[in-house]
Symmetry: C2
């Protein structure tokens, strides 16, 4: 007969966040899980930048960058402000920096 772990499961279940939160967490990290978006966040880590500067920096089309900025904005990781024709993007809070920094440490330890 297979071995039993009811007691263990009871304990772990109590400590697990709701499915909704776990789903949201996965969705959040999914946004970090793309090299282009990581590059954008690292660039904005330094300074606010307009879309065409980012696309020039990464050597990618303006459209591709715009699509990714939309994804980042929906996840509340970046925010923007308009100045004439230009729209400047910047990181929206310190968590972005912390998360990236922790990932970086994990890699380079």
């Amino acid at each position: 007969m297979p071995h039993n772990h009811d007691k263990l499961l009871d304990h772990v279940k109590k400590e697990m966040p709701t499915d909704e939160i776990l789903q949201d967490l996965g969705d959040l990290f999914k946004v970090f899980g793309d090299t282009t978006r990581i590059k954008i966040m690292f660039a904005l880590y330094e300074e606010e930048m307009c879309v065409c500067a980012i696309s020039e920096l990464l050597g990618m089309t303006q459209s591709a960058i715009s699509h990714q900025l939309k994804t980042l904005k929906q996840a509340d990781l970046v925010a923007s402000r308009r100045e004439g024709k230009t729209i400047y993007y910047h990181l929206s809070d310190e968590h972005v920096k912390s998360i990236i920094a922790q990932g970086y440490e994990h890699l380079t330890e």
Copy 2:
């Protein structure tokens, strides 16, 4: 004529990590970007667990869990030890906890 941002790009380029590191960072966060893997990490956050306990906890097949554990192990996020027929998994370092905690804070702030 399009507007110029050579000075800005020069500065940002200097501060950007290498493409290899940026790629590795994206790959690392990709591993966090899946609800099943997030659930596994949260479970192991509490206690070390065997494969069948995890699959029972999440209501998923043993095969699915094994595949995901392999992904987590390759990213050095979990480690395992054998005890007879059973293999116990646990989180491999504190960065996992920090990264999840930061993500959690970003969501619930």
